[in-house]
Protein backbone atom coordinates (compact mmCIF):
# COMPACT_ATOMS: atom_id res chain seq x y z
CA UNK A 1 0.00 0.00 0.00
CA UNK A 2 1.43 3.40 -0.95
CA UNK A 3 2.05 6.04 1.71
CA UNK A 4 -0.70 8.66 1.92
CA UNK A 5 0.09 11.94 0.19
CA UNK A 6 -0.30 15.22 2.17
CA UNK A 7 -3.52 15.76 0.26
CA UNK A 8 -4.89 12.39 1.43
CA UNK A 9 -4.29 13.23 5.08
CA UNK A 10 -6.62 16.24 4.78
CA UNK A 11 -9.40 13.95 3.57
CA UNK A 12 -11.32 11.97 6.16
CA UNK A 13 -13.52 10.15 3.67
CA UNK A 14 -12.87 9.23 0.06
CA UNK A 15 -15.53 7.46 -1.95
CA UNK A 16 -14.61 6.12 -5.41
CA UNK A 17 -16.85 4.49 -7.98
CA UNK A 18 -19.43 3.55 -5.34
CA UNK A 19 -22.16 1.31 -6.69
CA UNK A 20 -24.99 -0.16 -4.61
CA UNK A 21 -27.76 -2.45 -5.92
CA UNK A 22 -30.70 -3.80 -3.92
CA UNK A 23 -32.58 -6.78 -5.37
CA UNK A 24 -31.26 -5.96 -8.82
CA UNK A 25 -32.32 -2.31 -8.57
CA UNK A 26 -29.59 0.27 -8.95
CA UNK A 27 -29.62 2.72 -6.01
CA UNK A 28 -26.20 4.35 -6.36
CA UNK A 29 -23.88 4.31 -9.35
CA UNK A 30 -20.43 5.75 -9.92
CA UNK A 31 -20.36 7.96 -6.84
CA UNK A 32 -17.02 9.75 -6.33
CA UNK A 33 -16.63 12.22 -3.51
CA UNK A 34 -14.22 13.31 -0.83
CA UNK A 35 -15.00 14.87 2.52
CA UNK A 36 -12.27 16.87 4.23
CA UNK A 37 -11.60 16.89 7.97
CA UNK A 38 -13.65 19.47 9.81
CA UNK A 39 -16.08 19.92 6.93
CA UNK A 40 -19.88 19.84 7.43
CA UNK A 41 -21.53 18.34 4.38
CA UNK A 42 -25.28 18.14 3.83
CA UNK A 43 -26.53 15.47 1.45
CA UNK A 44 -29.93 16.45 0.12
CA UNK A 45 -32.31 14.85 -2.34
CA UNK A 46 -35.80 13.46 -2.60
CA UNK A 47 -36.86 10.17 -0.99
CA UNK A 48 -35.41 7.17 -2.79
CA UNK A 49 -32.38 9.01 -4.19
CA UNK A 50 -29.98 6.81 -2.19
CA UNK A 51 -28.75 9.34 0.36
CA UNK A 52 -29.36 7.08 3.39
CA UNK A 53 -27.78 4.15 1.50
CA UNK A 54 -24.72 6.33 0.84
CA UNK A 55 -24.54 7.32 4.49
CA UNK A 56 -24.77 3.71 5.70
CA UNK A 57 -22.10 2.73 3.15
CA UNK A 58 -19.78 5.40 4.60
CA UNK A 59 -19.69 3.58 7.96
CA UNK A 60 -19.80 0.04 6.59
CA UNK A 61 -23.40 -0.70 7.62
CA UNK A 62 -24.08 -1.52 3.95
CA UNK A 63 -21.52 -3.37 1.84
CA UNK A 64 -21.29 -1.71 -1.59
CA UNK A 65 -21.84 -3.80 -4.71
CA UNK A 66 -18.74 -2.14 -6.18
CA UNK A 67 -16.37 0.74 -5.43
CA UNK A 68 -14.44 1.74 -2.33
CA UNK A 69 -14.96 3.80 0.79
CA UNK A 70 -11.72 4.97 2.40
CA UNK A 71 -12.00 6.23 5.98
CA UNK A 72 -8.90 7.99 7.26
CA UNK A 73 -6.70 6.26 4.70
CA UNK A 74 -8.14 2.75 5.21
CA UNK A 75 -10.34 0.93 2.72
CA UNK A 76 -13.33 -0.31 4.76
CA UNK A 77 -13.75 -3.38 2.53
CA UNK A 78 -10.28 -4.63 3.48
CA UNK A 79 -10.85 -4.43 7.24
CA UNK A 80 -11.71 -7.49 9.33
CA UNK A 81 -15.03 -7.35 11.24
CA UNK A 82 -13.11 -6.58 14.46
CA UNK A 83 -11.17 -3.76 12.79
CA UNK A 84 -14.37 -2.40 11.26
CA UNK A 85 -16.04 -2.39 14.71
CA UNK A 86 -13.03 -0.53 16.07
CA UNK A 87 -13.20 2.13 13.31
CA UNK A 88 -16.94 2.57 13.88
CA UNK A 89 -16.16 3.77 17.39
CA UNK A 90 -14.61 6.82 15.75
CA UNK A 91 -17.94 7.59 14.10
CA UNK A 92 -21.06 8.88 15.84
CA UNK A 93 -24.32 7.95 14.13
CA UNK A 94 -27.58 9.83 14.77
CA UNK A 95 -30.42 7.72 13.40
CA UNK A 96 -33.59 9.07 11.81
CA UNK A 97 -35.86 8.03 14.69
CA UNK A 98 -33.00 8.10 17.18
CA UNK A 99 -32.94 4.24 17.35
CA UNK A 100 -32.67 4.32 21.14
CA UNK A 101 -32.80 0.92 22.83
CA UNK A 102 -36.35 0.51 24.19
CA UNK A 103 -35.27 -1.92 26.88
CA UNK A 104 -32.85 0.56 28.49
CA UNK A 105 -33.19 3.84 30.36
CA UNK A 106 -31.94 7.06 28.76
CA UNK A 107 -28.87 6.89 31.03
CA UNK A 108 -28.02 3.37 29.85
CA UNK A 109 -28.61 4.35 26.23
CA UNK A 110 -26.15 7.26 26.43
CA UNK A 111 -23.71 5.20 28.51
CA UNK A 112 -23.82 2.27 26.04
CA UNK A 113 -20.90 3.40 23.80
CA UNK A 114 -18.68 4.08 26.85
CA UNK A 115 -19.45 0.70 28.40
CA UNK A 116 -18.96 -0.99 25.05
CA UNK A 117 -15.61 0.63 24.21
CA UNK A 118 -13.88 1.71 27.41
CA UNK A 119 -13.14 0.47 30.93
CA UNK A 120 -14.46 3.65 32.56
CA UNK A 121 -15.75 3.19 36.13
CA UNK A 122 -19.31 4.01 37.22
CA UNK A 123 -18.45 7.51 38.49
CA UNK A 124 -16.73 8.41 35.24
CA UNK A 125 -19.65 7.03 33.18
CA UNK A 126 -22.13 8.99 35.30
CA UNK A 127 -20.16 12.24 34.95
CA UNK A 128 -19.85 11.90 31.16
CA UNK A 129 -23.48 10.89 30.58
CA UNK A 130 -24.78 13.81 32.65
CA UNK A 131 -22.41 16.25 30.92
CA UNK A 132 -23.59 15.17 27.47
CA UNK A 133 -27.26 15.16 28.42
CA UNK A 134 -26.82 18.71 29.69
CA UNK A 135 -25.00 19.70 26.46
CA UNK A 136 -28.07 18.68 24.46
CA UNK A 137 -30.31 20.59 26.90
CA UNK A 138 -31.87 17.66 28.75
CA UNK A 139 -32.42 17.78 32.52
CA UNK A 140 -30.97 15.13 34.84
CA UNK A 141 -34.39 13.68 35.65
CA UNK A 142 -34.66 12.43 32.04
CA UNK A 143 -31.83 9.97 32.70
CA UNK A 144 -34.02 7.42 34.46
CA UNK A 145 -36.86 7.56 31.94
CA UNK A 146 -37.41 5.11 29.08
CA UNK A 147 -37.28 6.23 25.42
CA UNK A 148 -41.05 5.67 25.06
CA UNK A 149 -41.67 8.33 27.74
CA UNK A 150 -39.92 11.09 25.75
CA UNK A 151 -41.11 13.30 22.90
CA UNK A 152 -39.63 12.94 19.40
CA UNK A 153 -37.44 16.02 19.86
CA UNK A 154 -36.08 14.78 23.20
CA UNK A 155 -35.33 11.36 21.70
CA UNK A 156 -33.37 13.03 18.89
CA UNK A 157 -31.37 15.01 21.44
CA UNK A 158 -30.62 11.80 23.38
CA UNK A 159 -29.53 10.28 20.04
CA UNK A 160 -27.11 13.18 19.54
CA UNK A 161 -25.76 12.84 23.11
CA UNK A 162 -25.18 9.11 22.52
CA UNK A 163 -23.49 9.75 19.17
CA UNK A 164 -20.99 12.30 20.50
CA UNK A 165 -20.18 10.76 23.88
CA UNK A 166 -17.01 9.07 22.62
CA UNK A 167 -15.98 12.35 20.92
CA UNK A 168 -15.93 10.85 17.42
CA UNK A 169 -14.04 12.25 14.46
CA UNK A 170 -17.07 11.92 12.20
CA UNK A 171 -20.72 12.46 13.13
CA UNK A 172 -23.33 11.25 10.69
CA UNK A 173 -26.90 12.57 11.04
CA UNK A 174 -29.74 10.76 9.23
CA UNK A 175 -32.71 13.11 8.70
CA UNK A 176 -32.11 14.88 12.03
CA UNK A 177 -35.13 17.21 11.79
CA UNK A 178 -37.67 14.95 10.06
CA UNK A 179 -40.94 14.73 11.97
CA UNK A 180 -40.17 17.65 14.29
CA UNK A 181 -41.98 20.98 14.62
CA UNK A 182 -40.17 24.05 13.22
CA UNK A 183 -38.95 25.22 16.63
CA UNK A 184 -37.59 21.80 17.62
CA UNK A 185 -36.04 21.50 14.13
CA UNK A 186 -34.15 24.72 14.78
CA UNK A 187 -33.09 23.47 18.22
CA UNK A 188 -31.56 20.41 16.50
CA UNK A 189 -29.88 22.68 13.91
CA UNK A 190 -28.37 24.76 16.71
CA UNK A 191 -27.24 21.59 18.51
CA UNK A 192 -25.47 20.39 15.37
CA UNK A 193 -23.69 23.76 15.15
CA UNK A 194 -22.89 23.53 18.84
CA UNK A 195 -21.36 20.05 18.46
CA UNK A 196 -19.21 21.46 15.68
CA UNK A 197 -18.07 24.39 17.83
CA UNK A 198 -17.24 22.21 20.86
CA UNK A 199 -15.51 19.31 19.13
CA UNK A 200 -13.21 19.03 16.12
CA UNK A 201 -15.66 16.90 14.14
CA UNK A 202 -16.45 16.28 10.51
CA UNK A 203 -20.22 16.09 9.95
CA UNK A 204 -22.33 14.47 7.27
CA UNK A 205 -26.01 15.40 7.42
CA UNK A 206 -28.55 13.57 5.29
CA UNK A 207 -31.64 15.73 5.07
CA UNK A 208 -34.38 17.06 2.88
CA UNK A 209 -34.89 20.03 5.15
CA UNK A 210 -33.49 23.00 3.21
CA UNK A 211 -33.26 25.12 6.35
CA UNK A 212 -30.89 22.58 7.92
CA UNK A 213 -28.77 22.43 4.76
CA UNK A 214 -28.55 26.22 4.53
CA UNK A 215 -27.98 26.90 8.22
CA UNK A 216 -25.58 24.14 9.23
CA UNK A 217 -23.63 22.96 6.16
CA UNK A 218 -20.45 24.30 4.55
CA UNK A 219 -21.10 22.25 1.46
CA UNK A 220 -24.19 20.67 -0.07
CA UNK A 221 -24.40 17.61 -2.33
CA UNK A 222 -27.68 16.99 -4.10
CA UNK A 223 -28.45 13.41 -5.15
CA UNK A 224 -31.08 12.44 -7.71
CA UNK A 225 -32.86 9.05 -7.98
CA UNK A 226 -31.09 6.72 -10.42
CA UNK A 227 -34.43 5.73 -11.98
CA UNK A 228 -35.05 9.33 -13.09
CA UNK A 229 -31.66 9.76 -14.73
CA UNK A 230 -30.48 8.73 -18.19
CA UNK A 231 -27.68 6.10 -18.08
CA UNK A 232 -24.88 8.60 -18.76
CA UNK A 233 -26.03 11.26 -16.26
CA UNK A 234 -24.20 11.69 -12.97
CA UNK A 235 -26.21 11.10 -9.81
CA UNK A 236 -24.84 14.13 -7.93
CA UNK A 237 -26.56 17.14 -9.50
CA UNK A 238 -25.02 19.76 -7.24
CA UNK A 239 -21.82 19.97 -5.20
CA UNK A 240 -21.11 23.39 -3.74
CA UNK A 241 -21.90 25.91 -1.03
CA UNK A 242 -25.48 26.19 0.25
CA UNK A 243 -25.67 29.79 -0.98
CA UNK A 244 -25.38 28.61 -4.60
CA UNK A 245 -28.39 26.25 -4.48
CA UNK A 246 -31.00 28.85 -5.48
CA UNK A 247 -29.00 29.87 -8.54
CA UNK A 248 -27.83 26.38 -9.55
CA UNK A 249 -27.51 25.77 -13.28
CA UNK A 250 -29.57 22.57 -13.13
CA UNK A 251 -33.29 23.30 -13.07
CA UNK A 252 -33.94 20.10 -11.02
CA UNK A 253 -31.82 21.50 -8.18
CA UNK A 254 -33.73 24.80 -8.12
CA UNK A 255 -37.01 22.88 -8.26
CA UNK A 256 -36.01 20.77 -5.23
CA UNK A 257 -34.80 23.77 -3.23
CA UNK A 258 -38.06 25.64 -3.88
CA UNK A 259 -40.14 22.52 -3.25
CA UNK A 260 -41.97 22.63 -6.59
CA UNK A 261 -43.79 19.52 -7.83
CA UNK A 262 -43.24 20.54 -11.50
CA UNK A 263 -43.82 17.73 -13.97
CA UNK A 264 -44.46 15.18 -11.16
CA UNK A 265 -48.18 15.99 -11.07
CA UNK A 266 -48.44 15.30 -14.82
CA UNK A 267 -46.53 12.02 -14.36
CA UNK A 268 -48.88 10.99 -11.56
CA UNK A 269 -52.01 11.73 -13.53
CA UNK A 270 -50.59 9.84 -16.55
CA UNK A 271 -49.76 6.81 -14.42
CA UNK A 272 -53.31 6.61 -13.09
Amino acid sequence: MTAPTPDDTKQLLQVSGLHVDFDGQEILRGIDLTIARGETVAIIGESGCGKTVLMKSLVGLITPTDGTVVFDGENLARLSPAELSDRRRRVGFVFQNAALFDSMTIFDNVAFPIRQSTDADDDEIHRRVMKHLSEVGLPERVAEKRPSELSGGMRKRVGIARAIILQPELVVYDEPTTGLDPIMSDVINELMLDVRRRYPVTSVIVTHDMRTAQKVADRVLMFYPRTRLSPDEHQILYDGPPQGLESAADQRVRQFVRGEAGERMTEMSEST
Binding site: V59, L61, R88, N97
Partner: protein
Protein backbone atom coordinates in the same frame (compact mmCIF):
# COMPACT_ATOMS: atom_id res chain seq x y z
CA UNK B 1 -68.40 -26.84 -45.28
CA UNK B 2 -69.78 -23.36 -45.11
CA UNK B 3 -69.19 -21.05 -42.21
CA UNK B 4 -72.27 -20.34 -40.16
CA UNK B 5 -73.35 -16.74 -39.78
CA UNK B 6 -73.74 -15.55 -36.23
CA UNK B 7 -77.26 -14.58 -35.23
CA UNK B 8 -78.66 -13.10 -32.04
CA UNK B 9 -79.89 -16.61 -31.06
CA UNK B 10 -76.35 -18.05 -31.03
CA UNK B 11 -74.92 -18.89 -27.61
CA UNK B 12 -72.48 -16.22 -26.35
CA UNK B 13 -68.91 -16.78 -27.37
CA UNK B 14 -66.39 -17.73 -24.70
CA UNK B 15 -63.87 -14.93 -24.07
CA UNK B 16 -60.57 -15.59 -25.80
CA UNK B 17 -57.88 -16.33 -23.20
CA UNK B 18 -55.21 -17.14 -25.79
CA UNK B 19 -54.01 -20.59 -26.72
CA UNK B 20 -54.50 -23.38 -24.14
CA UNK B 21 -51.12 -24.11 -22.51
CA UNK B 22 -49.59 -27.35 -23.65
CA UNK B 23 -48.61 -30.10 -21.21
CA UNK B 24 -44.98 -29.18 -21.87
CA UNK B 25 -45.59 -25.56 -20.84
CA UNK B 26 -47.45 -26.63 -17.71
CA UNK B 27 -44.66 -29.03 -16.78
CA UNK B 28 -42.11 -26.26 -17.37
CA UNK B 29 -44.05 -23.84 -15.13
CA UNK B 30 -44.35 -26.53 -12.46
CA UNK B 31 -40.61 -27.26 -12.53
CA UNK B 32 -39.81 -23.52 -12.35
CA UNK B 33 -42.18 -23.00 -9.43
CA UNK B 34 -40.94 -25.95 -7.39
CA UNK B 35 -37.34 -25.35 -8.40
CA UNK B 36 -37.50 -21.77 -7.09
CA UNK B 37 -39.06 -22.98 -3.85
CA UNK B 38 -36.30 -25.59 -3.40
CA UNK B 39 -33.55 -23.05 -4.16
CA UNK B 40 -35.10 -20.55 -1.72
CA UNK B 41 -35.33 -23.29 0.93
CA UNK B 42 -31.67 -24.24 0.46
CA UNK B 43 -30.64 -20.57 0.61
CA UNK B 44 -32.55 -20.00 3.86
CA UNK B 45 -31.11 -23.18 5.40
CA UNK B 46 -27.61 -22.02 4.47
CA UNK B 47 -28.34 -18.57 5.87
CA UNK B 48 -29.58 -20.03 9.18
CA UNK B 49 -26.49 -22.27 9.35
CA UNK B 50 -24.19 -19.26 8.84
CA UNK B 51 -26.15 -17.29 11.44
CA UNK B 52 -25.79 -20.18 13.92
CA UNK B 53 -22.08 -20.49 13.09
CA UNK B 54 -21.47 -16.79 13.80
CA UNK B 55 -23.35 -17.14 17.06
CA UNK B 56 -21.31 -20.23 18.07
CA UNK B 57 -18.07 -18.43 17.18
CA UNK B 58 -18.99 -15.67 19.63
CA UNK B 59 -20.09 -18.23 22.21
CA UNK B 60 -16.60 -19.73 22.30
CA UNK B 61 -14.65 -16.47 22.07
CA UNK B 62 -16.38 -13.96 24.37
CA UNK B 63 -19.37 -14.45 26.66
CA UNK B 64 -21.88 -11.62 27.08
CA UNK B 65 -21.86 -9.40 30.16
CA UNK B 66 -23.38 -10.84 33.33
CA UNK B 67 -26.18 -8.23 33.44
CA UNK B 68 -27.32 -9.02 29.89
CA UNK B 69 -27.30 -12.76 30.65
CA UNK B 70 -29.31 -12.42 33.86
CA UNK B 71 -32.06 -10.37 32.20
CA UNK B 72 -32.46 -13.05 29.52
CA UNK B 73 -32.31 -15.90 32.02
CA UNK B 74 -35.10 -14.26 34.01
CA UNK B 75 -37.31 -13.50 31.00
CA UNK B 76 -36.79 -16.83 29.24
CA UNK B 77 -36.48 -19.23 32.16
CA UNK B 78 -38.11 -17.87 35.30
CA UNK B 79 -41.14 -16.29 33.62
CA UNK B 80 -41.80 -19.50 31.63
CA UNK B 81 -41.99 -21.69 34.74
CA UNK B 82 -45.67 -21.09 35.68
CA UNK B 83 -47.05 -21.79 32.22
CA UNK B 84 -44.87 -24.89 31.77
CA UNK B 85 -45.91 -26.18 35.21
CA UNK B 86 -49.58 -25.58 34.49
CA UNK B 87 -49.58 -27.25 31.08
CA UNK B 88 -47.50 -30.13 32.46
CA UNK B 89 -50.12 -30.74 35.18
CA UNK B 90 -52.94 -30.80 32.64
CA UNK B 91 -51.09 -33.16 30.30
CA UNK B 92 -50.51 -35.57 33.18
CA UNK B 93 -54.22 -35.53 34.02
CA UNK B 94 -55.24 -35.85 30.35
CA UNK B 95 -53.00 -38.93 30.00
CA UNK B 96 -54.73 -40.47 33.01
CA UNK B 97 -58.17 -39.79 31.51
CA UNK B 98 -57.20 -41.13 28.08
CA UNK B 99 -55.47 -44.31 29.27
CA UNK B 100 -57.70 -45.31 32.15
CA UNK B 101 -60.54 -47.09 30.27
CA UNK B 102 -58.23 -49.25 28.13
CA UNK B 103 -56.24 -50.30 31.18
CA UNK B 104 -59.35 -50.74 33.30
CA UNK B 105 -60.87 -53.05 30.65
CA UNK B 106 -57.96 -55.48 31.04
CA UNK B 107 -57.73 -54.97 34.79
CA UNK B 108 -54.37 -53.24 34.71
CA UNK B 109 -55.37 -49.79 35.90
CA UNK B 110 -52.85 -49.93 38.73
CA UNK B 111 -50.15 -49.82 36.00
CA UNK B 112 -51.45 -46.48 34.72
CA UNK B 113 -48.62 -44.57 36.41
CA UNK B 114 -46.01 -46.41 34.33
CA UNK B 115 -47.59 -45.29 31.09
CA UNK B 116 -48.17 -41.72 32.27
CA UNK B 117 -44.68 -41.30 33.69
CA UNK B 118 -42.84 -42.96 30.83
CA UNK B 119 -44.74 -40.93 28.23
CA UNK B 120 -44.11 -37.73 30.14
CA UNK B 121 -40.43 -38.21 30.94
CA UNK B 122 -39.41 -39.59 27.55
CA UNK B 123 -41.59 -37.59 25.21
CA UNK B 124 -44.34 -35.28 26.37
CA UNK B 125 -42.40 -33.36 29.04
CA UNK B 126 -39.54 -32.24 26.76
CA UNK B 127 -41.77 -31.60 23.72
CA UNK B 128 -44.35 -29.75 25.80
CA UNK B 129 -41.75 -27.57 27.54
CA UNK B 130 -40.16 -26.83 24.15
CA UNK B 131 -43.53 -26.01 22.58
CA UNK B 132 -44.40 -23.65 25.39
CA UNK B 133 -40.96 -22.05 25.14
CA UNK B 134 -41.35 -21.64 21.37
CA UNK B 135 -44.78 -20.08 21.83
CA UNK B 136 -44.03 -17.85 24.79
CA UNK B 137 -40.39 -16.98 24.21
CA UNK B 138 -39.63 -17.78 20.55
CA UNK B 139 -42.37 -15.54 19.16
CA UNK B 140 -41.50 -12.78 21.63
CA UNK B 141 -37.80 -12.97 20.72
CA UNK B 142 -38.64 -12.70 17.01
CA UNK B 143 -41.00 -9.78 17.65
CA UNK B 144 -38.53 -7.90 19.87
CA UNK B 145 -35.58 -8.41 17.53
CA UNK B 146 -37.79 -7.70 14.50
CA UNK B 147 -38.90 -4.40 16.04
CA UNK B 148 -35.27 -3.61 16.80
CA UNK B 149 -34.40 -4.32 13.16
CA UNK B 150 -37.28 -2.19 11.83
CA UNK B 151 -36.50 0.74 14.16
CA UNK B 152 -32.77 0.58 13.28
CA UNK B 153 -31.76 -0.42 16.83
CA UNK B 154 -29.74 -3.35 15.41
CA UNK B 155 -27.99 -0.95 13.02
CA UNK B 156 -27.35 1.36 15.99
CA UNK B 157 -25.62 -1.50 17.85
CA UNK B 158 -23.41 -2.17 14.84
CA UNK B 159 -22.70 1.55 14.41
CA UNK B 160 -21.52 1.74 18.02
CA UNK B 161 -19.01 -1.05 17.47
CA UNK B 162 -21.06 -3.81 19.14
CA UNK B 163 -21.81 -7.05 17.32
CA UNK B 164 -25.61 -7.59 17.35
CA UNK B 165 -25.20 -11.37 17.28
CA UNK B 166 -22.91 -11.28 20.29
CA UNK B 167 -25.05 -8.77 22.14
CA UNK B 168 -28.55 -10.00 21.29
CA UNK B 169 -28.40 -13.62 20.15
CA UNK B 170 -25.75 -15.26 22.36
CA UNK B 171 -27.52 -14.42 25.69
CA UNK B 172 -30.86 -15.66 24.35
CA UNK B 173 -29.24 -18.86 23.04
CA UNK B 174 -27.52 -19.52 26.38
CA UNK B 175 -30.73 -18.84 28.32
CA UNK B 176 -32.67 -21.26 26.09
CA UNK B 177 -30.19 -24.16 26.16
CA UNK B 178 -29.31 -23.85 29.84
CA UNK B 179 -32.82 -23.34 31.20
CA UNK B 180 -34.90 -25.64 28.99
CA UNK B 181 -33.68 -28.71 30.97
CA UNK B 182 -35.06 -27.08 34.13
CA UNK B 183 -38.36 -26.35 32.36
CA UNK B 184 -38.47 -29.94 31.11
CA UNK B 185 -37.94 -31.30 34.62
CA UNK B 186 -40.71 -29.00 35.84
CA UNK B 187 -43.08 -30.24 33.09
CA UNK B 188 -42.17 -33.88 33.90
CA UNK B 189 -42.65 -33.37 37.62
CA UNK B 190 -45.94 -31.50 37.39
CA UNK B 191 -47.24 -34.01 34.82
CA UNK B 192 -46.39 -36.89 37.13
CA UNK B 193 -48.05 -35.10 40.05
CA UNK B 194 -51.14 -34.26 37.93
CA UNK B 195 -51.41 -37.85 36.63
CA UNK B 196 -51.02 -39.24 40.15
CA UNK B 197 -53.69 -37.02 41.69
CA UNK B 198 -56.19 -37.65 38.93
CA UNK B 199 -55.60 -41.43 39.01
CA UNK B 200 -55.64 -41.80 42.78
CA UNK B 201 -58.24 -39.19 43.75
CA UNK B 202 -60.66 -39.09 40.81
CA UNK B 203 -60.23 -42.57 39.31
CA UNK B 204 -59.68 -44.13 42.76
CA UNK B 205 -56.75 -46.32 41.80
CA UNK B 206 -54.92 -47.76 44.77
CA UNK B 207 -52.27 -45.31 45.89
CA UNK B 208 -49.61 -47.87 46.92
CA UNK B 209 -49.80 -50.05 43.80
CA UNK B 210 -49.87 -46.96 41.53
CA UNK B 211 -46.65 -45.69 43.11
CA UNK B 212 -44.96 -49.05 43.19
CA UNK B 213 -45.60 -49.74 39.47
CA UNK B 214 -44.65 -46.19 38.56
CA UNK B 215 -41.27 -46.61 40.19
CA UNK B 216 -40.52 -49.78 38.20
CA UNK B 217 -41.28 -48.36 34.77
CA UNK B 218 -39.06 -45.32 34.43
CA UNK B 219 -35.28 -45.73 34.29
CA UNK B 220 -32.60 -43.05 34.53
CA UNK B 221 -31.99 -43.28 30.81
CA UNK B 222 -35.57 -42.12 30.14
CA UNK B 223 -35.03 -38.98 32.20
CA UNK B 224 -31.63 -38.41 30.60
CA UNK B 225 -32.98 -38.84 27.05
CA UNK B 226 -35.77 -36.29 27.69
CA UNK B 227 -33.38 -33.71 29.11
CA UNK B 228 -30.77 -34.41 26.41
CA UNK B 229 -33.35 -33.81 23.68
CA UNK B 230 -34.58 -30.64 25.34
CA UNK B 231 -31.16 -28.96 24.95
CA UNK B 232 -31.42 -29.42 21.17
CA UNK B 233 -34.99 -28.08 21.23
CA UNK B 234 -33.80 -24.99 23.13
CA UNK B 235 -31.00 -24.41 20.61
CA UNK B 236 -33.40 -24.70 17.68
CA UNK B 237 -35.91 -22.28 19.25
CA UNK B 238 -33.21 -19.67 19.94
CA UNK B 239 -31.53 -19.89 16.52
CA UNK B 240 -34.73 -19.93 14.43
CA UNK B 241 -36.50 -17.21 16.44
CA UNK B 242 -33.50 -14.87 16.51
CA UNK B 243 -32.91 -15.47 12.80
CA UNK B 244 -36.52 -14.60 12.02
CA UNK B 245 -36.23 -11.40 14.09
CA UNK B 246 -32.97 -10.37 12.43
CA UNK B 247 -34.44 -10.91 8.96
CA UNK B 248 -37.75 -9.22 9.69
CA UNK B 249 -39.42 -7.32 6.85
CA UNK B 250 -40.35 -3.66 7.50
CA UNK B 251 -43.61 -2.64 9.13
CA UNK B 252 -46.05 -4.10 11.64
CA UNK B 253 -46.91 -6.93 9.23
CA UNK B 254 -43.23 -7.86 8.94
CA UNK B 255 -42.90 -8.14 12.72
CA UNK B 256 -46.11 -10.21 12.94
CA UNK B 257 -44.92 -12.55 10.19
CA UNK B 258 -41.54 -12.99 11.89
CA UNK B 259 -43.21 -13.86 15.22
CA UNK B 260 -45.53 -16.41 13.59
CA UNK B 261 -42.74 -17.91 11.49
CA UNK B 262 -40.56 -18.21 14.59
CA UNK B 263 -43.14 -20.41 16.32
CA UNK B 264 -44.19 -22.46 13.29
CA UNK B 265 -40.65 -23.26 12.09
CA UNK B 266 -39.41 -23.89 15.63
CA UNK B 267 -42.28 -26.30 16.29
CA UNK B 268 -41.75 -28.20 13.03
CA UNK B 269 -38.02 -28.44 13.74
CA UNK B 270 -38.63 -29.56 17.34
CA UNK B 271 -40.70 -32.50 16.06
CA UNK B 272 -38.23 -33.32 13.27
CA UNK B 273 -35.26 -33.27 15.66
CA UNK B 274 -37.32 -35.27 18.16
CA UNK B 275 -37.76 -38.02 15.59
CA UNK B 276 -34.08 -38.15 14.68
CA UNK B 277 -32.90 -38.05 18.30
CA UNK B 278 -35.43 -40.73 19.31
CA UNK B 279 -34.08 -43.07 16.63
CA UNK B 280 -30.51 -42.48 17.84
CA UNK B 281 -31.40 -42.69 21.54
CA UNK B 282 -33.40 -45.89 21.01
CA UNK B 283 -30.35 -47.53 19.49
CA UNK B 284 -28.28 -46.50 22.50
CA UNK B 285 -31.08 -47.59 24.86
CA UNK B 286 -31.35 -51.08 23.39
CA UNK B 287 -27.59 -51.40 23.41
CA UNK B 288 -27.69 -50.63 27.14
CA UNK B 289 -30.85 -52.60 27.97
CA UNK B 290 -31.01 -55.42 25.37
CA UNK B 291 -34.24 -56.81 26.84
CA UNK B 292 -35.79 -53.35 27.23
CA UNK B 293 -37.79 -52.30 30.29
CA UNK B 294 -41.33 -53.55 30.24
CA UNK B 295 -43.97 -51.09 31.29
CA UNK B 296 -46.32 -53.86 32.34
Amino acid sequence: MSLSVSTTNDPPRQPNHGPTPSVRDMLYAWVVQWGSAVVAGIETTGDIALFAWRMLTWLFTRLPQRGTLLVNFYQIGVLSLPVVALTGTFIGMVLAVQSYYQFHAIGLESHLGVVINTSLVRELGPVLAATMLAGRVGSAMAAVLGTMRVTEQIDALTAMGADPIHYLVVPRFLACILLIPALTIMADFMGIVGGYFYSVIVLEIDHASYLSHSRDGVVGFDLFSGIFKSVFFGAVIAVISCYQGFHCKPGAEGVGTAATAAFVYSFVMILAIDLVLNIILDKIYFAMYPAGVSIL
